[in-house]
């Protein structure tokens, strides 16, 4: 079965997925629709051979487990051969530059590379300096477009739609590539977004178009239809962004009680892995309101849609 039979290609044919910021509402919705469809077909055990005969390289030059596994499953589910090009033992680990490594890969015949890199903007460099098709699997503190797609898919499933939905994002936005990509996707899809966190963790976001910065957890959560909390990097506390993790948990940590400030029954999301007891309580993370498990499931479908549409 060809992929064209599954869904039409998006309005503009795109060679790379570097971020979601260039995607129109129609393109975003096409990704989500295709992801939902592929999720169903995969669940029914259908064989989807859209990438049969293609080799997809996994270049995770920064440690990652769930995103890498999710991309591998997605590529295999579409029939692709998956080549692991990750850092340990690779030429990048031996000091070769990113551009040289990718140019070498290109000569081996690999056409698509899923790239995770610690530097903001690395996928743009890769796309500009090689003929490879680049899928950004997270770059520095800049973007994580497939995480945004899977989160938006999860939200759309639960809320029925995002137009006018009130979404709260709480935590360290400054250091979050997930948050940046989500803001683009949510604003484009018509959601009303409020963000909150300690001052050093939301610095600069007051100027982000289409969103509001809340000064307290209560103000961030008030009336929210869904709440996304972000991972607090444990070393940030030492950097002075907050005096201590305990103080963060006291002021901004999400608990079942505090979720009462949001709309009744509002779900909570987290991109994982969680620091339970810091940004989210163990009880809330494992409660029925938590969509963390569904996020992981949707990750494969969202990434299948991305790979399929780029190859369409």
């Amino acid at each position: 079965m060809t992929l064209a039979a599954i869904a039409p290609p998006p309005a503009a044919t795109r060679r790379h997925l570097l971020d979601v910021d260039g995607l129109s509402r129609a393109e975003l919705e096409a990704h989500l629709d295709l992801a939902a469809e592929l999720r169903e077909r995969r669940a029914r055990g259908e064989r989807l051979g859209g990438l049969a005969g293609q080799a997809v390289g996994m270049a995770f030059l920064e440690p990652s487990t769930r995103t890498r596994v999710s991309f591998e499953l997605a590529a295999r589910a579409l029939g692709a051969d998956v080549i692991d090009l990750s850092a340990s033992g690779s030429s990048v680990a031996k000091g070769e530059s990113l551009v040289d490594t990718l140019r070498t890969l290109e000569r081996t015949g690999i056409e698509t590379v899923v790239l995770r890199h610690a530097s903001s903007g690395a996928p743009y460099l890769a796309a500009r300096t090689t003929g490879l098709r680049i899928v950004n699997a997270g770059d520095g503190t800049h973007a994580h477009p497939t995480q945004a797609l899977l989160d938006v898919l999860t939200l759309r499933d639960v809320l029925g739609g995002l137009e006018g939905a009130r979404i709260a994002i709480v935590g360290d936005l400054v250091h979050s590539r997930v948050a940046r990509s989500e803001l683009h996707a949510l604003v484009t899809l018509g959601a009303r977004v409020r963000v909150g966190g300690p001052p050093a963790m939301v610095a600069g976001f007051g100027a982000w178009p289409g969103i509001e910065v809340a000064r307290s957890l209560e103000a961030a959560l008030e009336g929210a239809d869904a709440v996304m909390t972000l991972r607090i990097q444990l070393e940030r506390a030492a950097g002075g962004a907050v005096p201590s993790l305990a103080e963060y948990a006291r002021t901004w940590g999400l608990t079942t009680e505090r979720m009462a400030m949001a709309r009744r029954g509002a779900p909570v999301l987290h991109p994982g892995p969680t620091n339970e007891g810091v940004e989210i309580s163990a009880e809330l993370a494992s409660s029925p309101r938590s969509l963390i498990g569904r996020q992981v499931e949707n990750g494969v479908a969202a990434r299948m849609a991305v790979l399929a549409l780029l190859s369409a």
């Binding site: 910021d21 530059s97 743009y124």
Partner: protein, 459 residues
């Protein structure tokens, strides 16, 4: 359209005898601005030529005092892959400069009289005069003062730990106190290392959008204010180099109003480019909206060009416009290029791995003329900021008056050229302006009467 390169000469050549006829002669020092002739002979500007002198039709060109760059990284010793004294001075001559000041953050640094002498010796037959800025501290480590009187005797024109500020306020105070009786200025890279640590782009909507850690303007202002207070207390001369913020400029303006011996320069890229370029914006800073609160759209082809990573980082549009106003009103004394050549492997890397800096000698005039063409700067003010005003900071001067040393540039302000490998003389090409057309083609550079660059028809 792109003119081929002309011929290079040396400051050790015989003085030329020539007449530039029919140019717009702009001498900010004397206030002369008229169509006329300039004659040189025996190394000086003369009124009457002897027979047999070369006559150059300079109709449509501008003839002005040659330029002086207070801040260039010539990379010798230790960084010759990117530039050396010979290639850097040729890039200078190609662009109208008679003098370049070599900064001391070489490998090893220029912190001893022997190091200074080696660079001066390399400049003896170069295409422009080489002056040396000595390191202020041993090894530029910020721990102990260099032997400053010995460096002074070796001929340094100033001292600096450029690349970083003098880290400790206490050492900065000792340094300025010691420099005061020597009459040497500190060329200060005003940036607090603790505030700047780990940052990658000026704080603002573009940095937020691109996920690049935000450099706060306070990193510059705190050192500017600190050093002004220390200069006032010690009576030393303070020169703030590559100033990049309106707030830093305001502090300098207030110091000048109090009569303190404080001067400053700005780079072409802090005047004309802006943080927005990191996302893909390519309009000059003065063409952009200073009130814009949103980042420009991220352009996948242009975003994160590591050639835009400089230190201090590119200014906000508002600050860049304030700096241009400060240049126009004279608060800023000079344009200095911070010419910072790097080999490709230091720039064809992700933004955070890239070495900071861009080349600047060969694009300074073109950027300045773009500001003039936009009506943001008068030509004499531009030429003063490139020539006489920086020259005075290091004890030189520039004038086209009869009897003065013949340091002059002739350029065609209407001709344009494309910035590309073939049109650049620097060994390095790390500039975000590659591919762009700039107005202003230098036809002739003369240093002390010697023709160091000649792209005239008969040259």
């Amino acid at each position: 359209m792109t003119d081929g390169l002309g011929r290079f000469g040396s400051i050790a050549d015989e003085p030329a005898s020539l007449l530039l006829r029919g140019a717009r002669v702009v001498d900010p020092t004397t206030g002369r601005d008229e169509v006329g002739d300039v004659a040189i002979d025996g190394g000086v500007v003369v009124a009457v030529l002897r027979d047999g002198a070369r006559i150059i039709d300079a109709t449509g060109w501008v003839v002005a005092p040659a330029f002086c760059d207070l801040h260039a990284h010539l990379r010798q010793p230790g960084g010759e892959e990117a530039e050396d004294v010979a290639s850097g001075t040729r890039a200078a001559a190609h662009s109208g400069y008679a003098t370049v000041c070599a900064m001391p953050n070489t490998d090893p640094p220029l912190d001893t009289p022997a190091q200074v002498a080696a660079v001066l010796a390399a400049g003896a037959g170069a295409a422009s005069r080489v002056r040396v800025v000595g390191a202020a501290t041993r090894g530029r480590s910020g721990a102990m003062l260099a032997d400053l009187a010995a460096l002074h005797d070796a001929g340094v024109v100033a001292v600096s730990d450029d690349g970083a500020a003098i880290r400790s306020a206490r050492l900065a105070r000792s340094l300025l106190a010691y420099l005061a009786p020597l009459g040497l200025a500190l060329f200060e890279h005003a940036e607090d290392a603790t505030l700047a640590a780990g940052t990658l782009l000026r704080g603002g909507p573009t940095a937020t959008r691109l996920g690049l850690p935000a450099w706060p303007v306070s990193a510059e202002v705190t050192i500017v204010e600190r050093d002004i207070a220390l200069a006032e207390e010690t009576g030393a001369r303070l020169h703030l180099t590559h100033l990049s913020s309106a707030a830093g400029l305001d502090a300098v303006r207030r110091a000048k109003e109090r009569g303190l011996p404080v001067t400053c320069d700005v780079t072409p890229h802090h005047l004309a480019l802006a943080d927005t370029w990191a996302a893909g914006e390519r309009r000059w800073a003065w063409e952009q909206d200073p009130e814009a609160t949103d980042a420009p759209p991220v352009d996948a082809e242009l975003a994160y060009d590591a050639n835009l990573r400089v230190n201090p980082p590119l200014a906000s549009v508002r600050d860049a416009q304030a700096l241009l106003d400060g240049l126009a009103d004279g608060t800023i004394d000079a344009i200095a290029t911070d010419h910072a050549p790097h080999p490709p492997q230091r720039k064809l890397v992700p933004w955070d791995e890239a070495a900071p800096g861009m080349i600047g000698l060969e694009t300074a005039l073109g950027i300045g003329l773009a500001a003039v063409a936009a009506g943001r700067l008068r030509l004499p003010a531009l030429l003063a900021a490139l020539g006489d005003r920086p020259a005075r900071i290091i004890g030189e001067s520039r004038s086209l008056a009869i009897g003065q040393p013949a340091d002059l540039v002739a350029f065609d302000p209407g001709a344009s050229w494309r910035v590309e490998r073939a049109s650049l003389t620097s060994r390095s090409v790390n500039t975000p302006l590659l591919g762009r057309e700039l107005r202003g083609v230098v036809r002739l550079t003369v240093v002390g009467g010697r023709v160091t660059y000649d792209a005239t028809a008969g040259g």
